[in-house]
């Protein structure tokens, strides 16, 4: 693409109207192009002003109180998180994400049948029933979801946690297979606690994988992360996670 062609993408990008592939390509270009960044910023202001066209509607008087109450709740949540130990600095990042949790996502303490879970996981590995099982695990009510991302750039992953069945389904995108002798490991992190392994996985050469992993009994977690570890996995992460996300309850 010529410089001129890139520049032409700034307006639709600022409007959030680029289609997926174009957007990814343009974002990669933006990282190294000051001219396009300036162009995007100026169109962003234009897009921001479009909001003013919305017809005025008077908000309910109680809305201000709700806004303030929400802030208080967030602060309360934050105050409950212990200072992360310095020897595991990346927990600080996880704690920061926990801060970002709006509470009310709730804790799910439903107890599933362990055997049923294991069966579900076995099924999820290769048979035709795997798809059904994955689908049911993902579509059930009360499933928590998390988008794991590295600051908006690939790779990314989406996690579905079915607490009733104690299973997570993770779908990974644009993640190259781990180097020889290494694997990827998924972690569940409860507020202020050490990460707990949810299992290891390795995508195929196309960088994609969807798999089901068992969640240890009693584990309730708010943040999920992926690290690269020696084959077989580690009891505790040895690396900084390259994917991290907060768990949300589905609508």
């Amino acid at each position: 693409m010529t410089d001129h062609e890139w520049l032409a993408l700034a307006a639709p990008y600022a409007l959030d109207a680029l289609d997926g592939d174009d957007r990814a390509a343009f974002e990669a270009h933006l990282a190294g192009c000051e001219q396009c960044r300036v162009e995007v910023a100026s169109f962003r202001e234009v897009a921001g002003q479009l909001a003013l066209v919305a017809p005025a509607v008077e908000p309910a008087p109680g809305l201000r109180d709700r806004v303030i109450a929400e802030a208080r709740r967030v602060r309360l949540l934050a105050s409950r998180i212990p200072r992360p130990a310095s020897r595991i600095p990346w927990l600080a990042a996880a704690a920061a994400l926990v801060l970002a949790l709006a509470a009310g996502y709730g804790y799910w303490r439903e107890r599933g049948d362990r055997r049923a879970l294991e069966q579900a996981v076995l099924l999820a590995r290769d048979s035709l029933a795997a798809r059904d099982s994955l689908l049911n695990a993902v579509l059930a009510p009360n499933v928590g979801t998390a988008n794991l991302a590295a600051t908006g750039k690939p790779p990314s992953a989406r996690l579905f946690w079915n607490p009733a069945r104690r299973v997570v389904v993770i779908a990974v995108f644009d993640l190259p297979p781990a180097p020889a002798g290494r694997t990827y490991q998924l972690w569940g992190i409860a507020t202020g606690k050490a990460p707990v392994s949810l299992g290891v996985f390795n995508p195929g050469p196309n960088g994609r994988l969807t798999t089901a992993l068992a969640v240890p009994a009693e584990l309730v977690f708010q943040v999920t992360a992926v690290t690269e570890e020696p084959a077989g996995g580690s009891p505790q992460p040895t690396q900084t996670p390259f994917l991290i996300g907060e768990v949300r309850r589905s609508e």
């Binding site: 234009v46 002003q49 908000p59 809305l63 303030i68 967030v74």
Partner: protein
């Protein structure tokens, strides 16, 4: 008057009153935008609580170089509102609302603040100056959350045509709006 940016800095330090003041300044704009996108008032309430909650949590990360506080809040509000519309599977109704916006903009009650009324008049006139197809494409993108190819499908127009309309329309808007609103 304290600048918006100063309020956001105080919020980052945990000052609740600063949040209240930010709401007093921008709450109506966020609410109006949320209503325009989600339609239902109860949903718009939820969006606004979410918007200021996110602003509260992310206050320390606000970068004034990237734009004004107003456009930052508008971006959050638009994103949250569109997420809600998608989550509720109400996209088609949202698109109908997006199509209605310019029609409605004429005879509505005046806004409370003079600045907002003036700024609003400026944007409404600028949009009205655009050729209808350009305006429509931009509104579908902004209020309907559609991508260029989705707009092309929605309007049964070639993708190239839609791309040109969006680009030309945005360039013209930028000129009409004088580029800087901060």
């Amino acid at each position: 008057m304290t600048s918006d940016h100063a309020l956001v800095q105080r919020m980052a330090a945990g000052d609740e009153r600063a949040l209240g003041e930010l709401y007093d300044r921008h709450g109506r704009a966020a609410y109006a935008l949320a209503c325009a996108i989600v339609g239902e008032r109860a949903d718009a309430d939820e969006v606004v609580v979410d918007v200021f909650g996110q602003a509260w949590r992310a206050a320390a990360q606000f970068e004034p170089a990237r734009g004004s506080v107003g456009s930052w809040l508008a971006t959050i509000a638009r994103t949250r509102a569109l997420d809600l519309v998608r989550a509720r599977g109400r996209r088609s109704r949202a698109l109908e609302r997006a199509a209605q916006l310019s029609v409605e903009s004429g005879g509505e009650p005046a806004d409370r603040t003079v600045e907002r009324t003036e700024a609003r008049g400026l944007v409404t006139r600028a949009l009205a100056d655009l050729p209808e197809p350009q305006r429509r494409a931009i509104e579908l993108a902004y209020f309907g959350g559609l991508s260029q190819s989705e707009i092309a499908a929605q309007l049964s127009e070639p993708l190239g045509t839609v791309k040109t309309r969006i680009r030309d329309g945005m360039v013209k808007l930028r000129t009409l709006l004088g580029g800087d609103s901060t």
